[in-house]
Symmetry: C2
Subunit: 328 residues, 2 copies
DNA sequence: TTGAAATACGTTAGCGCTAACGTAAACTTC
DNA sequence: GAAGTTTACGTTAGCGCTAACGTATTTCAA
């Protein structure tokens, strides 16, 4: 390759990277030779030689709902503009998978790692601490992140929703979500939501845990469970997300239960489906694109050594839909 | 590191990789030292030394709808079982982005590359041909793939749906999808669908192209366009996918148009939402998980040099819902 | 005209691993 | 117990790049 263009490999290296120190003429001769010889520079060797990569590893729990797709899209385009390459994996809400991902990314000498949520195995934390890698935690806000954090206070968000519904006169809330230990953010929202009612001497009267299906079908199954199994009456159901709530809504309609007259439904995320529903779901809109973009920017800053805010809390917006109404 | 355990670096290499040639005792001494010294083997150096990576690059158009998430999930877990690492990117239906991705993956000396659809830039094809990389094309079936292919015949799928609806008595179909040149598979389905009607002396009487929003909202907007703008009457609308169809259905309901009595709706993919709808959408179920799993298996086979089928065509299944009915 | 500065290269010495081969000791086998 | 075989290492020579530092050659100011 170098021989073909009649130059040293160092000039080839310079020409291929576009750094200065090569005359225009030599450069084009090298590029021609590269084309003719089908030469493709090895990023692997380059990364080894420079000891710095432009890799960022992003770990999200799932791509099932569009939440993490939204975050990831925003993130990826921001990284791209900075010449960072994004590698990506899903944990399926399994911390062992997250650990394995972190290990792989460290082995590849990634410059940055993005994790979802604030709950990680001790070994994950240890590896991150030791490795020379910038760490960003997203989705869940924390006052004391490993390094950087952009996210929501899910407990507060659940609480805010609980307060609003309480003020509307709801008294006997139920919850439909995944089994405990699965999605911690969902649990935080549920906890905050419940707290709002407990403060007023009320309580969460029913819960249904749906295993495996956390989308439309899960909501419908959970709602059916709640309605079929004996237990205290409830006037409100809080769902993991909008898709589950829509599933629940369809189950109610199928059974002739009038929403919101007989039963209120509320959810979280403000997913796209809400834009087309004639009866929009009462929900909290989570600013996914903002999380992705800000997060990516912060991580890039950290990698480049720019001092900045460590932790950013973004606020979801409650959107009152037509699946709830004042109870008086 | 090697010194600490009192061995040569070669023994460390063997111990860390778990290959034989180290006594149990020495191995554990090395692992202890590694732990103490926080040693993490570099995959970069490893890949350079062995000149073979376990990287597979997967490119999909979008994560907006869950189709490619489904494919990707199935694929990733299959690759994982073979010790392959999956790197992933979305093209947003932009072939230039696909080209850039292929270039990056080749620079990283990936063992395999997965592309969606059969349409690639000449430079992409050239790079793939020259590089020592196995190539799998998914989603769209082709008789003559670059190397391997698992997918659907979208034209045939559209045609099959057209035939079924024709037999039910529909005569004036319309189509709602993205602008031409954006999603080629959608165009193929539309072409096949149209062909079924043209064969009987009928034609596609209306189309609406929605820019940007190819999910719920796009369907609703497209349907509103179709209904608001003057033009021939239509008795049927074929949508890009189920989510758009649901958006369209909601628009119809909002306007008091009875589906399927006054208007039939059909779509493609068989997405999860259909499981909970009281009025399920007539659609073709696309076997996403099968595509992902089979595709991954084939690519692994090719990487390991196992001879096999080059091209596999999978069949979507038409699921008659309640958004269409016989017109007599 | 001359010394300093800039430009356009080339040379050297790794980056952190592993394949392939070498070697000494322990273990077989008949 | 001599010769072959196995085991458990170590040594050597790269993999394909790039940082850092040469060394000619040209450019330029005074």
């Amino acid at each position: 390759m170098a021989a073909r263009a009649g130059v040293s490999i160092m000039s080839v290296s310079r020409a291929m990277r576009g750094v200065e120190g090569v005359s225009t003429e030599t450069r084009s001769r090298i590029l021609d030779a590269a084309e003719a010889l089908r030469y493709s520079p090895s990023s692997v060797a380059g990364a080894l030689a420079t000891a710095n990569s432009s890799l960022v590893g992003v770990s999200v729990p799932t791509l099932q709902d569009s939440v993490f797709s939204d975050i990831f899209s925003a993130m990826r385009s921001t990284f791209e503009r900075s010449g960072m390459q994004t590698v990506f994996d899903t944990t399926e809400y399994d911390n062992a998978r997250e650990e394995a991902f972190v290990e792989r990314m460290i082995a590849w000498r990634a410059a940055g790692i993005v994790l979802s949520g604030g709950h990680h195995t001790p070994r994950t934390r240890r590896m991150l601490r030791r490795a020379n890698v910038s760490v960003l935690e997203i989705w869940s806000w924390s006052a004391d992140p490993i390094e950087l954090c952009v996210g929501l206070d899910h407990e507060a968000s659940g609480y805010a929703m609980g307060r609003r519904l309480l003020e509307m006169g709801y008294q006997s809330p139920a919850y439909i979500g995944p089994q405990p230990g699965y999605d911690r953010r969902a649990e935080q929202r549920c906890r905050g939501f419940t707290r709002a009612f407990v403060e007023q001497g009320l309580s969460l009267v029913r819960q249904a845990w749906v295993t495996g299906k956390h989308s439309f079908a899960g909501g419908r199954i959970g709602m059916a469970n709640l309605l079929d199994k004996p237990g205290p009456a409830f006037d409100l159901v809080y769902f993991l997300n909008d898709h589950m709530a829509f599933g629940g809504l369809e189950e109610c309609r199928a059974r002739g239960i009038k929403v919101p007259d007989q039963l209120g439904l509320a959810a979280f995320n403000g997913l796209q489906i809400n834009d087309v529903l004639r009866q929009p779901i009462t929900t909290s809109y989570s600013p996914r694109a903002d999380i992705g973009e800000q997060g990516a920017r912060m991580l890039i800053g950290a990698i480049k050594g720019v001092a900045q805010e460590r932790s950013v809390k973004l606020e979801p917006t409650i959107m009152m839909g037509e699946t709830t109404k004042a109870r008086w």
